[in-house]
Amino acid sequence: MTTIQIDHASRWFRNVVAVNDITMTIGPGVTGLLGPNGAGKSTLIALMSGFLAPSAGTVTLDGEPLWRNEKVYRKIGLVPEREALFDYLTGRQFVVANAELHGLPDPGAAAQRALALIEMTDAQDRTISTYSKGMKQRVKMASALVHDPAVLLLDEPFNGMDPRQRIHLMELLRGMGAEGRTVLFSSHILEEVEQVARQIEVVVAGRHAASGDFGAIRRLMTDRPNRFVLRTSDDRALASALLADASVRGARLRSEGGIELEASDFGRFSEVLPRLAREHGIRLHEVTPTDESLESVFAYLVSA
C-alpha cells in the first residue's frame, strides 16, 4: 500500500502561482486528476514525481520526501506528457535500457514482460522515430512499468491515442488499480476520467476545486447555477425562448447588447441552448461563462 501525501503544497514560478495550497492524499486505486489545460496538473505531477520542489508545504511518498530523493524511483513509474524519447533506439532497446537503469536482475525479461503488457511486442524492433503517437505513448508506458512500480503517474496519457488504444489503456489502468497499485493520471476530459477513475480530484487555476467519486463531481459541476453572456443574432427572441425552459433561471437583455443568463442545470442547458437557437433560426455568436472561478471548468465541459 503506497500513498502520496500532498500537504498544503504550493508552487509558484516567479509571480505566477501554478499550485495554490493543495492538500490531497493519493492512495491505492485509480485516481483521476481533472482540470482544464493550464490548471496546474503537470506541476502537481512534477511535485509528485520529485521533479519539482514545492515552494511551500510538503509532498511525500509513504512519509519520504520526493524532492532530491532518487531512491523513491524504485516505487514510481512516470509517464511524462512530453513525447520526446530516445528516438535512435528501438522500442525494445529503450525499455531494456530503462530496466538496466533500474538495476533489475534480468532487464531483458522485464522488458519483454512490460512490452507484452502494453501490446508492443510486434513493433519492438522498429526504431522509435518510426512510431506513431499512440505507439510512443505505449512505449513510454512500458518503460514506466518495467520495474513493476507500486505507484504509476501518467501525465495526459490518452492524448494522441486512437479509440482502440484508449480502451486498452483504460483497461490496463483499471487492472493496475484493482491490483492495489496507486495509479494517478491527469486529463482535461471528464468523460475520460470517469470511465477509469474511482476517485477524481479536480484542479482549477491551481486550486483543489473538488474531490470525490465521479457521481459527486458530476453533480457538483452540473447542478450549480451557471452564469453566461450570450451574443446572438436575435437576443430578445432567444431570451424569451430560453426563459420558457426549466434549465434557465433568469435572463436579462443588456443595454450594450447580448443576454445575461443564469442556468440552473448545466447539462440540460448545454443541450437546450443549441436546440432552441436552431429551432428559432438564431445564430449564436458567443457563449461566455462569466462565473470566473469556474470559467475554465465550463470551458472544457462545453468542449468535451
Binding site: G50, F86, A97, N98, E100, H102
Partner: protein, 238 residues
C-alpha cells in the same frame, strides 16, 4: 560510479546526430593541414608547434569537448527525455560521470590522437612534441568537458554560451591580457605541454599550478553538474 547503460546511450546519442559528423571532420582537417605543412615547409619545429597550438589546442580541442559534451546533455534536457534517466534510483553523480566518460573518450579519439598524429606527421624525428600536445589536450579537453557539462545543465543555450566563452574569454581576452593565463584552460594545457615537449608556449605559468587548476575545474565542474541535476526541475508544457 559509472553506468554502462548511460555510457552506451551516450555513445549512440553523440554519433546519432549531426554532431557525430562534425566530430569526425575536425580531426581530419587537422591532419590534412599537418600533411600540407609538412609538404610545404618540410620538418620545421616552429611551424609544427604553431600549427598544433593555433589549430589543434586552441580550436579543435575545445570544439570537440563542446560538441561531445553538449551532444550528451543539452538535447536530452531540451526535449525532456532526460526524465527517463532521472526517474531512476541512481545517483545524479553517476549520470554525470557516465556522460563525461563518453565525452572523455571523444576527446581522446577526436582531439588527442589526431594531435599526436599531426605532430608525428609534421615532426617525425622528435615525437615528443606530438606526445606533449596529445597529453596536454587530454588534460585541457577534460576540463573543458566539465565546464560545458555545467553549462548544459545551467542554461538552455549551452552551445552558444560555450562558444561565447571560448571566443571571448579563451580566445580574445586570453590573447590580449596576460593575466588571463591564470584562469584559462587552454593556457594551463600549454604549460603542461611546455613541460613535456620542452617548448615555450606560455610564459610564467608554473606546471604545478596548471595541473592543480585543471584538476580543480574537472572535479568542481563534475560535482556542480551533479548537484544541479539533483535539483532538476522538469515541468510539462503547461
Amino acid at each position: 560510479m559509472i553506468s554502462r547503460t548511460i555510457v552506451r546511450l551516450g555513445v549512440r546519442s553523440v554519433f546519432g546526430r549531426w554532431r557525430g559528423v562534425l566530430l569526425l571532420v575536425l580531426p581530419l582537417v587537422l591532419v590534412a593541414v599537418a600533411v600540407l605543412v609538412r609538404a610545404l615547409v618540410g620538418e620545421e619545429p616552429l611551424a609544427a608547434q604553431n600549427t598544433l597550438e593555433a589549430l589543434g589546442l586552441v580550436v579543435i580541442v575545445p570544439l570537440v569537448a563542446l560538441l561531445a559534451t553538449s551532444g550528451l546533455l543539452a538535447p536530452e534536457i531540451d526535449d525532456g527525455s532526460v526524465s527517463y534517466l532521472l526517474a531512476k534510483p541512481i545517483s545524479r553523480y553517476t549520470i554525470v560521470l557516465s556522460k563525461l566518460v563518453v565525452a572523455a573518450v571523444c576527446v581522446v579519439l577526436f582531439a588527442a590522437v589526431p594531435l599526436l598524429v599531426a605532430g608525428l606527421v609534421m615532426l617525425t624525428s622528435s615525437p615528443s612534441l606530438g606526445v606533449g600536445f596529445a597529453v596536454g589536450s587530454v588534460a585541457g579537453g577534460l576540463a573543458y568537458c566539465a565546464v560545458f557539462a555545467l553549462f548544459s545543465v545551467m542554461t538552455r543555450h549551452a552551445v552558444v554560451v560555450g562558444l561565447v566563452y571560448l571566443l571571448i574569454w579563451e580566445g580574445l581576452l586570453g590573447g590580449l591580457l596576460d593575466g588571463v593565463r591564470w584562469l584559462s584552460i587552454t593556457r594551463w594545457s600549454e604549460a603542461i605541454i611546455g613541460e613535456l615537449a620542452d617548448v615555450a608556449l606560455v610564459e610564467d605559468l608554473p606546471l604545478l599550478y596548471a595541473v592543480i587548476a585543471t584538476v580543480v575545474v574537472l572535479v568542481a565542474g563534475t560535482w556542480l553538474t551533479g548537484r544541479r541535476l539533483r535539483a532538476f526541475n522538469l515541468t510539462g508544457d503547461e
